[in-house]
Point group: C2
Chain length 769, copies 2
């Protein structure tokens, strides 16, 4: 844990340079626009420790699998969103000496990320070994308005000398991934051109043959006036650059504005790429840094209008929640159904920038609540597009008849992960993908999504469950053997409650969907029946048998569903009794020790109770929470949110707040000592859920929003914005009062503290606790 980020309501601020934290800050100050992302690497050369990272959504490389011991069924590769052409680079010489914060004496240093406007700034004063002192200021953004464009303004002021400031802006595609399995470089050059202050580099990925053209245009200034000095170009493999020597007198400031464009074969034909890059560079050049920023800023303000959360009397909490919202919006904007949300977004190499069940379980609710319906629908369509691959994935594992197992980790629908206990066994993810369909429809009311998209996915997943269970002669029940639940601190267990529950729920929901389709879309259903060779009678008969006869491990004495068979054979010692020297157990204990302990990584049985809360009484919820939470070490960043929401529901307000705090500033305070690898983007969705569903007690029931809000003790008030079926609400919780402001024209039907209410368009209503 580190706490060097300065608290501020809208800004992330670092004062003073800490080389040992540089990778952490590079993650924290990352910028992105849903199409590309850039770690907060320095523009000028830096010889110290750094993880270079420029990522382009959808551009991946299938890095050949490297494992110690191969297991049959392992995927051939791990697909990774890869480090791409460095477009931010500007080498700087001061009187011929390289500016490098790894070698200079640093007198002041400040980084600032303005979340409201989406701008990264940096300023420092440094003394070079030659004694020259400079003051540097830089600003950078990747436009959320014109997503092909990134812009930099970089100034060097001569503080104690006259002479020459040399700028060498460049594009460099000779980059690596640190996590390359075979120390390979993934890019080869296609073409390059450079002419004075404009250059282009086109590269192609090995194997996947994606092409990316990066363009740059720059303009230098002396004290605001365009510099006329000669520009000399340089070019070699995977590199184009230019050098301009600006003469300065003491007190002068040399500035360079570098505008870059990134276009790829994901959106254009290879043959058009150069021309498209040139067009983008021309657009950027025409607008210039300031106008580009103006439009970018406007878009950010629009985003905040519908997604801001305010907290009174707690700057750290205010900064934390806004940071989460900011990063989620930087990662995914929902315009392109081929894209998704990586656990680390575009902020590092870890997890390869590829898709996990995190999207459905922890991110979808945020986008449902703050964005247009298309955004969430695209997240669902992403999986629909991968249906055939999910069917093939199941076939590889011995399933048939178009049963689908969605991958644990994927970018193109194919499985990437290679730990058998997760890849093959953490199959509850299939349930999360089915649940997302329900969740989406429940929130948006868009039932038509079921025909054909939703239904096709549900059918294939139901078929998987139907084949995955087996009849136990011993138990005279259906059982599900050899799975890993959401609690990855158990592997290859039998009858994981959550997985069994997801299976039964999927079958039930699919049956409901079939009834609906037969009633509302009989022709289409008939088509689907043929298309998928769906033998309705025999298949649904088996499904019903499974629904009626599924086994759930149950402890009669405690009146508890057990996480899996044999759970109560463990020594049940609460986490609070576990000496601190043993924690986190995933760093202190060998894997077998963790596995045979009772400790839970993240919500597992409670995950089902959270998702299907109407199936469980408050007594049951409380009993399960009281049993499982004390055994939970929350060593997944995805753990506290579910617990926070359930604690709020039970009325454990302090617990709810405590759990919320564990993720709210996870990255800002480097809580788990791993922010250097990148940000926990998907966990940020969980934090949002904690707030809205926990403190706000918000649910969708019977086609309306319901609220059971409370105010954590330390806060003066909180408020959040929420979109729901055309209505845009701002809800505020104060000490004893809950207020709903309806910013739309339409009347909103809501439930507050279990009372049905309406709030007319463009009006406000107050509710006393």
């Amino acid at each position: 844990m580190k706490e060097y980020i300065i608290h501020n309501e809208w800004k992330i601020i670092e004062e003073g340079f800490r080389p040992e934290n540089n990778r952490i800050s590079e993650s924290i100050f990352s910028i992105g626009n849903g199409k590309m992302g850039q770690r907060a690497n320095f523009e000028e050369k830096y010889s110290g420790d750094s993880l270079q990272g420029a990522y382009i959504a959808g551009i991946y490389y299938p890095d050949k699998t490297r494992v110690g011991w191969w297991k049959n069924g392992y995927p051939e590769y791990f697909a990774k969103i890869i480090n791409s052409t460095n477009w931010i680079g500007i080498n700087v010489l001061v009187n011929g000496q390289e500016l490098d914060l790894g070698k200079a004496k640093i007198h002041s240093f400040r980084r600032e990320l303005d979340m409201q406007h989406g701008l990264l700034s940096r300023s420092f004063e440094a003394e070079l070994p030659n004694g020259n002192r400079v003051k540097v200021t830089s600003q950078r953004f990747v436009s959320i308005d014109d997503t092909e464009i990134g812009a930099i303004r970089y100034s060097v002021k001569a503080l104690n000398f006259s002479g020459v400031i040399t700028f060498s802006p460049y594009l460099n595609g000779d980059v690596m991934n640190e996590d390359s399995n075979y120390d390979e470089k993934f890019w080869v050059e296609v073409e390059r051109e450079i002419s004075k202050n404009e250059g282009y580099l086109t590269l192609e990925t090995l194997k996947t043959k994606f092409q990316v053209t990066t363009g740059m245009y720059f303009q230098s200034f002396r004290n605001g006036t365009p510099a006329q000095e000669e520009i000399v170009n340089a070019s070699h493999e995977k590199y184009v650059g230019a050098t301009q020597k600006i003469e300065v007198a003491e007190g002068d400031e040399a500035t360079i504005e570098k505008l870059a464009a990134t276009v790829s074969s994901l959106n254009y034909k290879n043959t058009d790429l150069l021309q498209k890059a040139k067009a983008a560079v021309a657009r950027a050049q025409k607008a210039g840094f300031d106008k580009l920023f103006e439009k970018h800023k406007t878009k950010w303000l629009q985003i905040w209008e519908t997604s801001d959360i305010k907290i009174e009397d707690d700057t750290a909490a205010q900064q934390g929640i806004r940071y989460n919202i900011f990063q989620l919006n930087q990662t995914y904007t929902g315009e392109d159904e081929r894209l998704n949300i990586g656990p680390k977004g575009f902020t590092g190499e870890k997890y390869g920038g590829v898709t996990y069940w995190d999207t459905e379980a922890y991110c979808l609710p945020f986008f449902l609540g703050t964005s247009s319906i298309e955004v969430s629908r695209h997240l669902l369509m992403y999986r629909h597009k991968h249906l055939q691959k999910a069917i093939e994935n199941a076939e590889k594992l011995g399933f048939n008849c178009n049963a689908a197992l969605y991958p644990m980790v994927t970018i193109n629908g194919e499985e990437c992960h290679n730990e058998w206990e997760i890849t093959f066994e953490e199959i509850h993810r299939n349930g999360a993908i089915a649940y997302a369909i329900f969740n989406y429809i429940n929130y948006t009311g868009d039932k038509e999504y079921l025909a054909p998209y939703g239904f096709e996915v549900l059918l294939a997943i139901s078929r998987f469950w139907s084949q995955r269970v087996n009849w136990s002669e011993e138990k005279q029940k259906f059982v599900m053997l050899g799975v890993t639940g959401p609690n990855e601190y158990e592997n290859n267990v039998n009858n994981n409650f959550h997985t069994n529950y997801m299976a039964v729920w999927t079958l039930k929901y699919t049956l409901e969907v079939i009834d609906y389709l037969k009633k509302d879309f009989p022709f289409l259903f008939d088509e689907l029946l043929k298309k998928w060779k769906f033998n309705e009678l025999s298949e649904t008969t088996r499904w019903r048998k499974i629904i009626e006869n599924m086994y759930f491990p149950f402890d009669a004495k405690r009146q508890l569903f057990l996480q899996q068979d044999g759970f109560t054979d463990k020594e049940l010692i609460p986490v609070s009794k576990l000496s601190k020297k043993h924690r986190p157990i995933n760093q202190k204990w060998s894997w077998d020790h963790i596995l045979r302990s009772c400790y839970i990584k993240q919500a597992d049985t409670l995950q089902s109770i959270f998702w299907f809360e109407d199936d469980f009484s408050m007594d049951q919820l409380k009993r399960h929470f009281d049993f499982y939470e004390p055994l939970t070490v929350h060593e997944s960043s995805l753990s506290p949110c579910v617990h926070s929401i359930l604690a709020a529901k039970i009325g454990y307000e302090k617990k709810s707040y405590e759990m919320y705090l564990r993720t709210a500033r996870l990255d800002l305070d480097d809580y788990n000592n791993d922010t250097d690898d990148g940000l926990h983007i998907t966990s940020m969705g969980g934090t949002w859920m904690s707030f809205v569903m926990g403190f706000g007690g918000m649910r969708v029931k019977n086609n309306r929003l319901t609220f059971n809000p409370f105010l954590p003790e330390k806060w003066g008030s909180w408020s959040f914005r929420i979109k729901f079926r055309g209505v845009h609400l701002e809800v505020t919780m104060q000490q004893k009062q809950f207020t709903i402001v309806n910013h739309s024209d339409q009347t909103a039907s809501v439930e507050v503290w279990n009372q049905a209410e309406t709030v007319k368009g463009n009006s406000k209503k107050e509710f006393k606790k």
Copy 2:
């Protein structure tokens, strides 16, 4: 499966060259002397597919671990016995053109391994691209008499030309392991010298700093007369060589005898190595090929005197069993307690030449029955020497108070393996190491081994079991969670019957040993008590509680011990009902599919019943065999032997024979399509057990050998030699008669078909069935 080896009682013969099988033959025709081993690579250059392998016992490299996903507790490296200096190489030019079977036209080809005398021969006629035809004959052995020496005689006859045969014998240390994790070379040069027909190369391993000096001496002949042609030397990094051009007329034969010596820092000081190598070369040179071979042959004949098995009327079976005995003796001779038996011996890279529980479970009985007591004792001392490392290994996994967990895979006592489900969980190996102490004492009567060696190991293992179990409130029993049994087709199961049984047995046996030590060695025991801080009362009290209250999964309906908790939740479909297209399941099914199936890789519950047969009635044995064997796919080469022995005991003679056949010619017929990787050396110990304990029904009970023999239908008779406590017996089974010849002076007390008998020294006794 391939069946190209020609059947012969004493020889392994290959006729005709099959490049596609070359790696298989290189394994099959391997030679070794317990100190070094050499695959049957060609002396002359070969451009075709080949796995070069020259291995020196005890000389290893710790190859840095490479895994996909690191788990806490994984070892840093995998120690490997590594490919070492190529000492067999003799490049051959025929009129300036390289002799290379990859490029020549081959008119005849024969390889032959004479097992009785330990000699590898090869002969072929080949036509080079230049039209020259040669007949080549070669002979090779690594001396089992003077284990530092290997010898080659290599002749080339000019069939259709006159001209020059060029011999270039060399030593080449610039070798690789194909399985190098980081494509590293493991050797660096220390020094080299070459002078005419004598050369030396000293290399050192990276990290472990082992030094090995290899020396060579050679002498060329023309038609048996020493050749006088000039010798030209060559030398570069890691290489010394010489070239001699022999002029030949058509019909002449040029011969080279190359004698090589290998000495290492395992046995000598680094500074003495060169001198020791020179002394060995001088010994070899003085004796010459023929005398060296004479002594080597004599030793082999002595080995056969006490270990031969004869089978009448079945040449394939005769060849198979002798091959197993031959290879076991080539791999381990028991003179050096620092050495052990790798699953592939010195015949390939797989499994790194390092030690598994195979040694204790499958190889020890062979050496007990055919070698002197020291040989087996050294196998035990190997583990005793590693006790401190086993304690450290347990500490890494969270155990304390000198509890020991012996590694799954090791060369120096440290764990090498890195699959969590095996490394951390396949802990029954600890039981096998304890059982080996019992087995050794039971066989040899050498009870004094217990003080202090055996006891120290047993105490540390008992302490491990005592900590590894936990009390289940649910079951009101001790349980053992999260283990992998011998059946590796189940991972992370609870209450594996075999593991629980080994735990309880170890505790019981250690208590017995304590009673014995207190009675017979009270002073020593007192010392040990202090040395190991053994709190006898409290520790043994807990042990007794565990012994009395251990949980064993039991199926009351079937009256069966279950392999583990939940086993009967599986679909129990016998292997015979499984379509052939699904087999072997480890190649056809993904790992999760295997895990949730009922199929068993090798004896698991039956392993305990085999080892502790007196604890189970014949009814129980039969019931368990009838339940488990039909579910067993025998996809471990270590599986059939235990089943063969148990089947024999039950009276399932056909089944016993069928199981025996599955391993008897495993490598000769490349039964599992993996002999190219090396031979299944440890499984050969299992085959010997099948024969002696299965067909011979041999056990040690009450300090004497007992026999319950039977004759497989197809055979005229069988006989085997056995050593037991100073007695040397030859037992023969014919149709209705069992004969014991006592080759020693001492009277042998035996039991035949449950009748106590004596056989006087140097006499013969017949028993009718």
